[in-house]
Symmetry: C2
Subunit: 186 residues, 2 copies
DNA sequence: TACTTGGTTCAAGGAGTCTTAAACTAAGAA
DNA sequence: TTCTTAGTTTAAGACTCCTTGAACCAAGTA
């Protein structure tokens, strides 16, 4: 493999939770592993680690605690929580003074949603530009085949989007039933 | 939007093909637009730009020409072509001395394949780690609900993978028929 | 043999992203 | 009002990934 910005089998990511923190080895393992997976799908690893921590702990936690357990700075936690909340990956209780957070269990649904949203802006722009290029190519007497190819590239651009549309048209489900649903389709 | 590592609607990527190069405006637009889309899906923008150039030109091109048209260094083109060839996104004719390349038209299929491959390494490791964590949690008398949650996270990890499996189980198709297939399902 | 051309490799530099730390705002308590 | 705590913002530094450019290899030619 030449280029490996991603998914190298060989090098396990080496982010560690400070040894001082009060969580168990298996908790740490779980949190980091999930962080890697989420990180792989375009989010920050720490987004995944925070969600995973909350999901595993099954109870509301406050920023200060998350900060300490995961060994992050105050500012980092603040920003990460804002992201997660906006995406509805975690739910904040803002009525209490030290605000608390809990994990949203419909994580897969959320990921798809954010994924789709993320692509929307780019896709819109791409569509516009390629349609423009198509017009100009016509004026330029480009061959029908070339025009067809521009069209195909436009389709390519919308390809994944359609996929994600398909996905998110499913009802809200929790993680495991969502998987089951797909297992049976395969 | 707080965090925007990706897909901001506002800021169009600003990579330019040198004005000196002998391609038309609409070609340049197309190439860059496709580059952005491909780049968005985890590849390098230049992977997308090269494929797009070859696809649009409909003829074999040699490294030197690609280098000149896209304004890349010799080394960069060499490395990028190796990636693309390995992924079968382009096909090289190595019999000629100045080697030439043509675009593979089954690009969507290729993308899915690479995507899947890319995830394979990480997934394997994650699976192992989470199963390990699950065992340790059991020994640690963790509640059934916690164990269940670890399981759910494992499912989450395999979630996208299953999707890509589903996708790539389809027969090889060219770009547009693949899209059509999906359009009808939606 | 030496020269040329096509292609590869890799260390160094650059570009872009992420995290931190410190300054700042807001709100409740004394 | 001042102090404390919770939370936000942001410039600067750290870190990562990408590209470059020079050195290198291989093969063909004179």
């Amino acid at each position: 493999m030449r280029s490996k910005p991603w998914g190298s089998t060989s090098t396990p990511p080496k982010d560690s939770i400070p040894a001082s923190s009060a969580i168990k080895t298996w908790e740490r393992k779980t949190i980091n592993a999930v962080g890697d997976v989420i990180g792989f799908w375009g989010f920050k690893k720490n987004h995944g680690r925070i969600w995973s921590l909350l999901y595993l702990k099954e109870r509301p936690m406050r920023s200060a605690e998350i900060q300490k357990v995961l060994g992050l700075s105050k500012g980092a936690v603040s920003m990460l929580m804002q992201d997660l909340e906006q995406w509805k990956v975690v739910v904040a209780n803002k009525d209490q003074k030290p605000r608390t957070y809990v994990a949203n269990e419909h994580i897969a649904q959320m990921i798809i949603g954010v994924f789709r949203q993320r692509e929307a802006g780019l896709l819109k722009r791409t569509k516009r530009i390629l349609e423009e290029a198509h017009r100009e190519a016509q004026q330029d007497q480009a061959s029908p085949k070339k025009l067809q190819r521009i069209q195909s590239m436009l389709n390519l651009a919308t390809f994944m989007n359609q996929f994600l549309n398909m996905l998110s048209s499913l009802n809200p489900l929790n993680v495991q039933t969502l998987i089951q649903k797909f297992s049976t389709k395969t």
